[in-house]
Every structure is written in C-alpha cells, then in structure tokens.
Amino acid sequence: MTNQDTPEQRLRRHREAVEWFFILQAEEQSTEQTERWIEWCSADPANQHTFERLLPLWQARWAVPEQHAAAPIAAFARVARRRWHLPRQHWALLATAAGLAVAVIGVLLVPRATGTLRLAAVAQLSSEIGQARSAQLVDGSSVALGGRSRIEVHFGAVRRDIEIEHGEALFKVRHDRTRPFVVHAGGLQVVAVGTVFDVDRRGSRVSVTVQEGVVEVSNAQSGATGTAPLRVARGTQVVFDQSGNEAPLRRAVSPEAADAWRRGHFEYVAEPLSAIIEDLNRYSSQQVVLQDSNLATLRYSGTIDVAALDEWLRALPNIFAVQVQFAPDHTVRLSGPSAKVTGN
C-alpha cells in the first residue's frame, strides 16, 4: 500500500488526511463534505490506511488509560471553554442574582505581607491560610511565600537547595555561579542562576513561571523519556503534571503573572478545577471541597480575583454542571449535577 508511494505521494496523502481531520472536526458538517470524504477514503486503500494510522496521534490525548476515565468530563469541559468569554458584567449579574438566593458571606483573606524575616542556612518557613510571608535568605536571595505553603531551606557549600513541600513561592535569586539555586517540588527540579521565578505546587501539578532571567527545569519522574532539562525563559510558564502523561504545557505569560497571586489575582488556561481549588483554598477561610472526583478534571480558563471568590463560586453552575452549596461549617461543597440534568 503506502510502501509503493513515492515520498512525495506519501506526504501528500498524509497532508490530505490531516486536512480531513480539520474538516470533519468542524461542528457544521455538510452532507457533501461527508460524501467527499467517504469518496476520498474509498478512492484508494492507501488513503483509508493513512487516515487510520494518523487517528491515534490525532487522538493522542486519549492514549492513556487514566485519561480514558476522565472522558465524559473532558468532553464536558469543552463547553466551559466555549463559554469562558462571558463578559464581566454578566458575571456580576449572575452573581448578584445568586447572592439574593444564598446569603452566606465568607471571610476573605487577601494576602497581606508581614515583616521581613531572615532565615538561617537551614530553616523552615510556613504560612497559614491567607497569610503571605516573605523572608530573606542567607545568600541575599529572597522568597515570598503564598498562603498555606511550606518550604525547607538547605543551603550548602556547593548548592542552595529549597524544597517546596506544598504551596507556592516566589524567588528572587542572588547571582552566584558557584552555587546553583535549586528548587525541588515533587519530582521536579528548577535550577536558577540569577533570576525571579515562581513555583506553585498543587499535589502532582507544578507550575513554574519566570519573571526575570532563565531557569532550567528537570523532571526526576520522566526517567523513561530521559529528556534534557527544559529551559524556561522570562515571560513563560510551564505546567507539569506528574500524575498523568500529559506533556508539559508551555505558554507565554506577562512577567507580572509570576507574582499575580500576591495581588490576589489568578489567571488560568484550561487548568483542572482541582488545582484551582487548591490555589484558592490557600487564601480563603471558606474551604472549597470537591465532593465528586469527576469534577477534579474539569478545566477552567479565565481569571479569578480572590476578593470576589464568592461571586465566582456562585457563577460556577453557569459554566459547569455543578451544584454549589455553601455549608454552615464554612465549607463550600461542589458536587456533580443531579439526575434531572443528565436527561435527554
């Protein structure tokens, strides 16, 4: 079949197949298009074969079993993505309407920095919910810790090591070529020489955002792939998820994004709800609980202001099929839709 193709024919066939992917993917589908595609498939067995061989790569996201489990949710998240452009006034309106119905007001703690500490060469630093702390390290570098976060500092003669046990920290690193500055978060290592960068660890999901300079990220858990360290430059964010096989996602961000959380501001692109909730719970006395594990993989895109967290939560049922319940014990429970929603 394809073996008999010249390289040019083979390439052309592949290009045609991919063009069909894009055509078939479009929501509006004309009968003529479908007919033409069927014609193309039956015109030459090699066409059909090529299409078939490219399909698994086209659907690579569904390659891994754990991701199969998330199928209905992921499909569902498409709706969310389509609707995330909802204008701000709308959010406010929805929120106000919801607010009349549910009159529970949570105490919101916008992160506020307290006095600067000086940490020893070997030290620990942790913060409470809604508390932001900053500290100066012995080498002149500094660290700003997000809410409910904890780090361990271990500065030696040849390396400066910091472990993020959980939470988020922004680092401003004093240049020292002889002693690399290494931040560990799960299996991830972020190496910096002199730079400003942020590391956010939510369970297995770690994002690294660089505000100044360059860092190198290597993943101890990707031993199988044996890839070289990833260079992350200024104005770039890379998100690693070590639980699945999702490829690290790299995206351009404004340099301010690295410490936007210090201003109570979060910005997401297709971020799993579980990771977002973990971020938000560091800043709100009102803890959000996902009651349905299926909800964890819903992906949200958009911005969230910690100061307007309640409004965001109340508007959530407009984006996802979730129910939001403000419980008397200061938790907010998110659960899946009731049976009536799942009908035809």
Binding site: L11, V18, F22, L57, R61, W62, R81, R250
Partner: protein
Amino acid sequence: MVGQLFRQHNRNLVHFIRARMSGPVSDANEVAQESYVRLLQLENTGAVSFLRAYLYRIAANLVIDRNLSRRRRPELSAEVVKEEFEQVADPFEVERSVLAADQYQHLLIFLAELSPKCRQAFELHRLRELPVEQVAHEMGISDRMVRKYVARALIYCRFRMDGDSATATLEIMGHD
C-alpha cells in the same frame, strides 16, 4: 438495509466520529451504535444513499450532544441492531488504533524534535483540546498557521514512529 449500511460503512462511521469527538474509542463505538439505532427508528427508509447521508448527520449530532453534555451510555432499545453490531463488529483493530502508553512516550520524544511553536500548537490543540481559534489567540498567530503546525507535528511524528530517521523525515517534509 441498515445491516448492509453497517457492513459497508461502520469503519468509516467510527473514524468519522473519532475525528470529531473528544473522547476515547469506546465512546466513538457507542455513538456509532446509537446512530444505527436512531436510523432504524426512522419511519420511512428510502434508498441506501439517502440513509447513509442521514446516518452521518445523526452521528454528527450525537457527537455534538456528547461533547456538550455529560450524557453517557445510551440505552440500546433495538435489540436487533445490537446483535447485528456484535456479529459484524470486526473489532477493527481497536488495539492498533489506540496509542499505547509507551507509544505516547515516543510521541512526546518526537514532538520535542520539532520547533517550539510547532510543538506548542500541537500540544494545545490536540493534547489540551483547545479550539484552533483559542490556540491561535494564545500563540498570536493565524488559525491557518495553527492548522499548519498541527499538521506538521502529526505527520512528522507519524513518520518518525514509522521508523524514518529525523534527517529522512525532514528531507521529505522540508524545514519549518
């Protein structure tokens, strides 16, 4: 007549659904089955060519439904079709048509050989399933360029997985 359609078109129909749908192969198979059920429920069944067009229309709508709602596992009301499906359902090499975990690792390695933009377009559109328009917006390039990058990444990785060397593949495809 539906049975005939099934034998002739099931493979294409499942491919059609998979190209459109966000979900695993098993979901695509379910949608295909449900399409036949719906077709069978039609009052007037005309010529096969009409039926075929109708079948794809039904499937397309079902995919949209499924991408939009959480609805899962349609009730199979027509036992006949179910049996028919099981009989004919040449498992059409489901195994071969799904990427195994180790192949996925290879895919990631081959993706890393591409230019950053090409890789990013593929990751955002295919691994994160962001719509082309959103990828274009995020990357600051045109929709057309997104499609071009995604096509390039797909074909490059297919060639590499088929055993072509990086040099040979670049020779065939040309550079970015």
